[in-house]
Subunit: 415 residues, 2 copies
């Protein structure tokens, strides 16, 4: 039953990926596999070197239970994070640790040149050691657009309309390419590698140049019927507001609470127009608010009111256990978070005030880690890539000893 064996391997690998170190009992419990199937899969993965023993736990009864983990160097991913102001490239290992990275600034609003992506990807590939090269599984990309059914990317901020990104990348790499909207890769990163590991209902809210949400509900990643779920930035937050949004509406949350709109509002209060101080930074507005500048405080208060109301909709509709905030605005965590919490409490009835609000700890690399998580998630569901990931390490890494159980490996129908 080759198909079932793939399923066992996939279940076990995902359980290990999400939990880092687990016992055999935990694997049985998490995967729901029957003991024989799980044991087969574990023996096979140990034999080929995709998973490793990492010690043992002494249980209360005195029995020692073995701890297992993924071999972090059993596979690699090329990760790309197309932020709206910066492109980041990386080589990550199987569990999303960054082995090589570089980044490059972009002019906001200018068309993204594909050459620039191809060159970056080539440079990352040049940095691969020979034994890594044989184990690179896929490319994962976090981007700020939407992907249609035929895989074409539309991203206003990058100047792309139905752009064949994956096809273009084939010029420099034969690897499969997996694409996902940034906010959804962020919640993947939090769910698989960050603070949301144990939370089946959690939301990542990006507050930066754009505003968006990545949603996990009932332990499933919410994409929506056209892969457009999480357009949190475009909910109308103030029907009467004059603030124009890039989407064509007025009063969107993003039109009030994004980084550039915070600067715009401050300049409009200061000068009566959005002109002047063109090079002003978000950090400067926040610093002024810290120093009790009344105009900057007025903006911070308005932004917090808008965010508190917007977040209350997420809480009431989805009852998440955890909302994680990230993005440039979190430089102003000290100013914004207490105000947002206060507003949020005003819009959520007492019986529903159970959602925890935190700030991401994955930092600037969250997009790269999310892209790597995306690539992992897709790789274990693809039988060719699963085969590559489960290729005996001895074949690609000459310094290792020969396998202890090659007969076992052959006995499983993995060829």
């Amino acid at each position: 039953m080759p198909k079932v064996a793939d399923q066992w391997l996939k279940d076990v690998l995902i359980a290990l990926y999400q939990r880092q170190a687990v016992t055999r009992d935990e694997i049985l419990q998490v995967t729901g596999l029957n003991p024989a199937s799980a044991s087969h899969a574990l023996q096979y993965l140990l034999a080929v070197g995709t998973i490793q023993k990492m010690g043992s736990l002494k249980s209360s009864g005195g029995r020692r239970r073995e701890l297992l983990k993924l071999n972090p160097e059993a596979g690699y991913f090329l990760a790309m994070d197309l932020d709206t102001t910066r492109i980041r490239f990386a080589l990550t290992n199987l569990i999303g640790d960054i082995r090589y990275r570089e980044e490059q600034d972009l002019d906001f609003g200018n068309e993204m040149k594909i050459r620039c992506l191809l060159d970056g990807l080539e440079r990352v590939q040049r940095n691969l050691a020979p034994w890594q090269r044989a184990r690179v599984l896929a490319v994962g990309i976090a981007h700020p657009g939407v992907v249609d059914a035929s895989g074409l990317v539309t991203a206003v901020n990058l100047g792309w309309c139905k752009f064949p990104l994956a096809e273009q990348l084939r010029q420099v790499t034969p690897l499969p390419v997996f694409l996902e909207t940034w906010c959804r890769t962020y919640i993947l990163a939090e769910k698989w590698l960050g603070q949301a590991q144990d939370c089946n209902n959690c939301i990542f809210v990006e507050l930066g140049r754009g505003v968006g949400a990545g949603i996990v509900a009932a332990d499933h990643y919410v994409e929506g019927s056209n892969q457009m779920a999480g357009e949190f930035g475009h909910i109308t937050i103030d029907m009467e507001a004059a603030d124009e949004c890039l989407c064509g509406k007025r009063g969107c949350l993003e039109a009030i609470a994004s980084g550039p709109n915070i600067i715009r509002q401050y300049l409009q209060l200061l000068n009566g127009s959005r002109r002047g101080n063109k090079g002003m930074q978000l950090s400067a507005v926040l610093e002024k608010a810290r120093n009790d500048d009344p105009l900057a405080l007025q903006v911070v208060n308005r932004v917090s009111r808008a965010l508190g109301l917007g977040l209350s909709h997420l809480v009431l509709l989805l009852n998440p256990g955890l909302i994680i905030l990230g993005g440039d605005l979190m430089q102003g965590e000290d100013l914004l978070l207490p105000r947002i919490r206060k507003e949020l409490a005003m819009h959520v009835p007492g019986f529903m005030r159970t959602t925890e609000l935190r700030v991401t700890s994955l930092g600037q690399d969250i997009g790269l880690k999310g892209a790597a998580s995306l690539a992992f998630r897709n790789s274990v569901q693809n039988s060719d890539l699963l085969k590559k990931l489960c290729r005996p390490l001895s074949e690609t890494l000459d310094t290792r000893k020969p396998l202890s159980g090659p007969r076992l490996a052959r006995s499983l129908t993995r060829a």
Copy 2:
């Protein structure tokens, strides 16, 4: 492997429940089971009589493909719908068809007497034929409250605070009791028996005495981290509004758009206070609006604006393929729907206007059907109830011929 066999049976039964008539190929495709497992499960279910052959389809190649369906009389459920103004009791068959029903009005806001539920349930049980009695699997209940981790129900409208409903019902029935909040049973009914069968991202919005939503995202039913997802009625829709809500806030969607609040707003416009015309019905306000009464139209327009904005949040956050509206307000479908659509379009950017908006066709029995769906869903996941559902029909129904394949049935480890 008795555990795996249960899993096969469950997968096949769910596939049949959701699709009514399917071929073996479709079952393989939907369940992802391997052909041997599916074939075992189907043979077993046919032998015991839980599923039936219902004819065949001629495929393009000329091969005839057998159509299978659930035997509707292989199991029964007791269903209860605790609306805020009415209790409905029913006996349903396996696929939610109502075999016996009765209902009873309630005084809104008065405490629900448990005696009244026990009496109703007893009357339904008295109406069971002896051969039905042996095959009743469970009680399903749609209620307007929230259930905590220990199964206690809090429902403000019924006057219950941490009420041990399931425990109380044990006085009159030994059957397992499954409870769910009304809106979530409604989307279950639509997803399994109604218009949302093929939709993996769909929402039911109840607009009646209360306002709430039942959400299915990524083909999973969203309960939230404390079983409180879908509190659509309590999102703040108008920060400046004076309308008080039962939850203690002001400007909630429910405080503007629920049935009683529509009547209240009309009376306030008419009399300057909410007093007078105490017996006024929602239908009367709607009729006045149809006859161009300016005050009634003013209320209808405000309600539509609030609902359009609220629904736009659902569309932007969850990108559902379908939103189904139900509840008392839908008597005013002719007035409300065109206005709601117009408002909705104003708050949703063009690229996201893909959600279909429909009115439920399940009528007043949607709560009973939802309660029956809930009971089915839980019953096939419970090995004792699954065993009861798969008991050979010949054992409980003397008039039927003996089984054609008893040996097969015994050969599977179902004892």
